[in-house]
């Protein structure tokens, strides 16, 4: 007996729009069909404790080992370098805290870019509050790391660990990871790369010591993060631990979701080049059309060194929250870095660090189910939505 679940990337009943379009993949990608199949199979077959010694447990152990092997093979690392965590944020915390603990005798400064995920910034704040130091390195107007400042920060005495996001989750700019890694290596500083937006979608350059990722960004299930620690990197678990033969991060997710994450990563990575070739021109179309058809708009991020599926722009005089709701009513799910839409009531620190307009901000991120027709409908409707909001606020032509 098979159960067929309709593949649908919309939430029914939320909108009456024809062909609703989910365009917030950078927050969470719709579940990949391979993840769904693997999850259902593993729920039936992989529920036993893999650390026990009977047949049923050995089956679970096989599934766990195969999942780890699939992830390792996809990332080009060794099986025993891969640890599963409770999510992307848990992976980032474990990566940084463990790397800092391993470098305690070398220094106490955490070097990081100004455009890291908030999980990195909060770790830096906690590290500073505990007596450590943090060195933030800025970016230019396109969101690109200042490599000269980075060289100074990792080269100055006391540099313990460096953290760099592979590509911005907010504006899509790809960071010079290879160059940053070389500078780190020259000073013996381990580099932690948050590759949440790249893994399963675009290659991550080598040279990093620790890498983190999040399954729901590539179409895996929520609640699975990846922590990869290369051999030779001194990483000490920051947690008390238990009697496990392979100590890692706290809160390893359940086996069925790990199996689904691994299967979907392999599938997403296999499709990545073709998907990038399909989506990247759509992002180019959005960048060009929005700039041409919406007055007083700033399309942000690097137009070339960017993720294949993500684009961000800001509309002058428009309230970001109002814009999100207006687009939602027309069947478009997008995200925003504007302060009124953020949990902190501050504008996105990424937009701040770049010095670009932060209000009226929209982030569009595409996925394997996004069609050209959906993008064109978005582009056809956006100018009218923005114009109506400006007219309502009495700022048209200002």
């Amino acid at each position: 007996m098979t159960t067929h679940i309709e593949q649908d990337d919309t939430v029914s009943g939320v909108t009456d729009a024809p062909d609703p379009a989910y365009l917030d993949t950078a927050s969470a990608a719709p579940l990949h069909p391979v993840a769904r199949e693997a999850l259902l199979a593993a729920l039936g077959d992989g529920w036993a404790d893999p650390d026990r010694l009977y047949t049923r447990a050995r089956r679970a152990r096989q599934l766990a080992d195969a999942a780890r092997g699939a992830v390792a093979e996809t990332l080009g690392v060794r099986d025993d370098e891969v640890v599963f965590t409770a999510g992307g944020t848990a992976a980032v915390h474990a990566a940084l805290l463990g790397a800092l603990a391993g470098r305690r005798r070398a220094g106490d400064a955490l070097v990081h870019s100004a455009v890291e995920h908030s999980a990195v910034l909060h770790t830096a704040a906690a590290h500073t509050a505990a007596g450590g130091a943090a060195r933030e390195v800025g970016v230019d107007r396109l969101g690109r790391l200042d490599l000269d400042a980075w060289a100074g920060a990792v080269g100055a005495p006391g540099a313990a660990v460096a953290a760099l996001i592979s590509a911005s989750h907010e504006v899509g700019t790809v960071q010079p990871v290879a160059a940053a890694a070389e500078l780190c290596a020259a000073h013996g500083v381990p580099l932690v790369v948050d590759a949440a937006q790249s893994v399963g979608r675009a290659p991550v350059p080598p040279g990093w010591s620790v890498l983190t990722a999040s399954a729901r960004k590539w179409g895996g299930p929520p609640g699975v993060g990846l922590l990869v620690v290369r051999k030779g990197t001194r990483w000490l678990s920051p947690y008390p631990g238990e009697d496990l033969h392979s100590p890692g991060a706290e809160g390893e997710p359940g086996l069925p979701t790990v199996v689904a994450a691994a299967a979907s990563l392999r599938a997403a990575a296999a499709e990545a080049a073709a998907e990038a070739a399909r989506l990247s021109p759509l992002v180019d179309r959005i960048r060009a059309t929005v700039a041409a058809t919406v007055p007083d708009v700033e399309v942000v991020g690097d137009p070339e060194q960017r993720l294949p599926h993500l684009v961000t722009f800001s509309c002058l005089y428009v309230d970001g929250e109002a814009l999100l709701h207006a687009l939602d009513r027309r069947g478009f799910a997008v995200s925003s870095g504007s302060s009124c839409t953020a949990s902190t009531l501050r504008p996105s620190h990424v937009l701040e660090a770049m010095g670009v307009l932060s209000h009226g901000n929209v982030r569009v991120s595409l996925h394997r189910g996004t069609t050209e027709a959906q993008v064109d409908r978005f582009l056809a409707e956006l100018p009218g939505v923005v114009a109506a909001l400006r007219a309502e606020a009495g700022v048209a032509g200002l």
Binding site: D296, E298, L316, Y317, V318, D319, S338, S339, C340, L345, R346, P347, L351, E352, G355, V356, L357, S358, H359, G360, A393, V395, L398
Partner: protein
């Protein structure tokens, strides 16, 4: 610096302080300064960004929650 006009936008959320600035700046003479008081943290980012997009001169923040813009065109 002496501002010709001071706009008190404290308590207003962005984009309202930027909108107030955009409305008022054309009414001062070229070379004069408008000071915007705004406590939405986004103003620190969005007022300089507006100046860049509009070709006006951002003259800095003389005090917390205060931003000065010179009309240059």
């Amino acid at each position: 610096m002496t501002a010709a006009v001071e706009l008190d936008c404290r308590g207003q959320r962005c984009p309202l302080p930027v909108i107030a600035l955009a409305r008022r700046l054309p009414q001062v003479a070229v070379g004069e300064v408008v000071r915007v008081l705004a406590d939405d943290p986004a103003a620190a980012n969005d007022i300089p960004a507006w100046c860049r997009m509009r070709g006006q001169e951002y003259a800095g923040s003389p005090a917390p929650d205060a931003y000065e813009v010179r009309r240059v065109r």
